[in-house]
């Protein structure tokens, strides 16, 4: 079990919550909540240790496209980077669809 924290610069805040995915084997859940700060904070809790660099790369790529201020919580149970990106994009589609 490992907890990782990331901080990204952001512009306008998200105005609604989103929750996608489940903490099942090979999957993860992503929770997005509005934040009062002008940045996005991501807390990753993962069952698999030692993938700090891959997490950083996956999140860096996602947050180069998603620039809304938010509080994001990721609970991971061994998902592939492909699944992580898919869940993040799904959550992003949900907060945008209003």
């Amino acid at each position: 079990m490992q907890t990782l924290n990331f901080e990204y610069a952001a512009q306008q805040p998200v105005t609604r919550r989103a929750h996608v995915g489940v903490v099942g084997s090979g999957d993860l859940e992503v929770l997005i909540e509005p934040s009062s700060k002008p940045t996005t904070h991501v807390r990753v809790r993962t069952s698999v240790d030692g993938y700090d660099q891959v997490w950083k790369q996956v999140l860096d790529r996602f947050f180069s496209r998603f620039q809304h201020a938010a509080q994001i919580e990721i609970n991971d149970f061994g998902a592939t980077p492909g699944t992580v990106t898919l869940r993040l994009e799904q959550a992003a589609e949900e907060v945008r669809s209003q």
């Binding site: 090979g26 993938y51 891959v54 790529r61 061994g78 492909g82 699944t83 990106t85 898919l86 589609e93």
Partner: protein, 558 residues
């Protein structure tokens, strides 16, 4: 037959065959041999150094004959040259351990690939070549003629005619190569009956029929449990349907056996239907009877399916759908691997499959460190047939130049998730296969599908329309653009990717109008094996290992 032998120096093979048959005559009653006499008979029939075709592909195996062959006395029978399409059973390699066999020409070694690599390293076994299926069978007619072939059938009648049933597969081809060049054909049968449902192989091609101690082994290799399909695979399936099948108007095709393609099959009646594509795409298939194709067939998507082999549990279903499947006058499925491979080469517009590794130039391989697995039929399906001369809309759509002699091209699509479970990158700088090939002293690297044959790469990041890339540098850039967070993907330059998107060489899900929020398991037409049984109206009878009431019950919560 034997009275045609003349001592004129032109009939040595025929004379050798007569001598072999004379040696086993004491055990024979007509063309029938008793089960218990097989080891002695093989010992009398075979000669050291013989080329022996031992039938075994990735589905059915002449396992009674292989288990018997391993019991012959190596002092008498040794240095055999085995021709096996799929090295699947432990005794295939025990033959080398005992010195009964020395050399092997093969096409695939799935379950025995680690042990095979070890035997090569230890010098216990010499590999002629690792072929594709059709290559190996073609060579049986050119420079690898079997002296003896050991094959299997479901039933024989008293005259020696054979019924090979739904799993006909390779048997007629191996028997033809042997029987018509004076080799000896030995067939294990599940039973001998008075009347066959139909004759798949005539008695005059067959020399020895032996009832097996138990029915031949057959593996359900093409059954994919929908329960295991992930949302990422559903996303890539949506991309394929929109960005490739719909865009190019693909009507004739072959699917690989992975979960990526199973997901596509299960999205046709849902996502495909919503897009209004029924009747416009995916009508004529070269495919084994995949259980995951049942919902599409039942929904009226599929006009025809021609099969390489059968699939365990699909006999009653295929029998009940003769407009779709090729069936005999008895009603049961007829399959033929060589003819289906030929169809897959020349008569279809698209092949799509998965791989374990793809390099930055688009070359792909399933060979990884310590395994000598081979590729079966994938290299044939996954390549352009340059001898093709008939046109179709999808094939012509691959033309990218204005030359007066421009020709179309087969669509060869690779689906790859950028990382495997466990974090390994699937898009890499250099294939593991290159080092494996060097270590095993292979004359060339074991590449499954070459980058210059691949027309499309699909990942969860989008589609690279590789056939549109101008030159190798641009092909590499297109691959990197969909390689996600892999080292190759991180090299992609955002500006260049933008340019590739603008020119239609790369497309993201957004570019194709594919919504990621739709990529959920609820989109699958069947979410469990039980759902497939229900779609088939109870005609599909899954093998025990795929029956799981608890699992499908849990799935209803998704």
């Amino acid at each position: 037959m034997l009275n045609m032998i003349q001592n004129d120096g032109w009939s040595k093979r025929r004379a050798s065959k007569a001598a072999r048959l004379a040696r086993i005559a004491p055990w024979m009653k007509g063309s029938a041999l008793e089960t218990g006499a097989i080891v002695e008979a093989l010992q009398a029939l075979l000669e050291p150094g013989d080329a022996v075709a031992l039938e075994g592909d990735n589905q059915k195996q002449a396992d009674f004959l292989s288990r018997s062959l391993v019991e012959v006395d190596p002092a008498k029978i040794h240095d055999l040259h085995l021709l096996i399409s799929s090295v699947s059973r432990p005794e295939h390699l025990t033959l080398f351990e005992r010195g009964i066999a020395r050399k092997i020409d093969l096409a695939f070694a799935g379950p025995q690939s680690v042990r095979l690599a070890q035997f090569v390293a230890d010098g216990k076994l010499e590999i002629g070549a690792i072929h594709t299926y059709v290559e190996l069978y073609a060579r049986m007619f050119v420079d690898l003629m079997p002296d003896v072939s050991l094959v299997c059938a479901e039933q024989a009648d008293r005259q020696g005619n054979l019924y090979t049933g739904p799993n006909t597969e390779d048997t007629p081809t191996i028997v033809e190569a042997t029987a018509f060049h004076d080799g000896v054909v030995v067939v294990q049968v599940n039973e001998i009956v008075d009347e066959l449902p139909r004759v798949d192989i005539p008695a005059s091609w067959v020399d020895v029929i032996v009832p097996a101690d138990k029915p031949y082994q057959v593996e359900p290799l093409f059954t994919r449990d929908p329960r295991l399909i992930t949302d990422v695979q559903i996303l890539t399936a949506m991309l394929v349907i929109r960005g490739i099948y719909e865009r190019h108007g693909v009507t004739t095709l072959n699917h690989g056996i992975g979960f990526d393609t199973a997901a596509i099959e299960l999205l046709l009646p849902t996502y495909g239907e919503k897009l209004g594509l029924r009747g416009k795409i995916c009508r004529n298939w070269v495919l084994n009877p995949h259980p995951t194709l049942i919902p599409a067939i039942e929904s009226g998507w599929v006009d025809s399916v021609v099969c390489f082999g059968s699939e365990v549990g699909m006999a009653d279903y295929t029998r009940a759908r003769p407009d779709v499947f090729f069936t005999g006058h008895d009603g049961s499925l007829r399959s033929n691997r060589v003819l289906a491979q030929l169809a897959g080469q020349y008569a279809i517009d698209l092949f799509i499959g998965s791989t374990l590794q793809m390099d930055v130039e688009g070359n792909s391989s399933t060979v990884t460190e310590g395994r000598l697995s081979g590729f079966g039929g994938a290299p044939n399906m996954g390549s352009d047939a340059r001898g093709r001369r008939h046109a179709s809309a999808a094939w012509l759509d691959m033309i990218t130049n204005k030359s007066a002699t421009a020709r179309g091209r087969k669509l060869v699509v690779q689906v790859v998730e950028t990382f495997h479970k466990g974090g390994e990158q699937s898009i890499v700088e250099t294939l593991d296969a290159i080092a494996v090939g060097k270590k095993a002293q292979m004359p060339m690297a074991p590449v499954m599908i070459y980058g210059d044959d691949v027309t499309h790469l699909v990942t969860e990041e989008g589609i690279a329309y590789i056939y549109r890339a101008e030159g190798l540098e641009e092909r590499k850039a297109a691959i990197a653009a969909v390689a996600g967070a892999t080292e190759i993907g991180l090299r992609a330059d955002a500006k260049r990717t933008g340019n590739l998107r603008a020119r239609g060489i790369v497309a993201t899900p957004e570019d194709l109008g594919v919504r990621r929020t739709e990529a959920r398991r609820t989109l699958l037409a069947a979410r469990s094996i039980d759902d497939l049984v229900a779609w088939s109206d109870g005609l599909y009878q899954p093998p025990a290992k795929f029956r799981s009431w608890e699992n499908s019950h849990a799935d209803t919560q998704l």
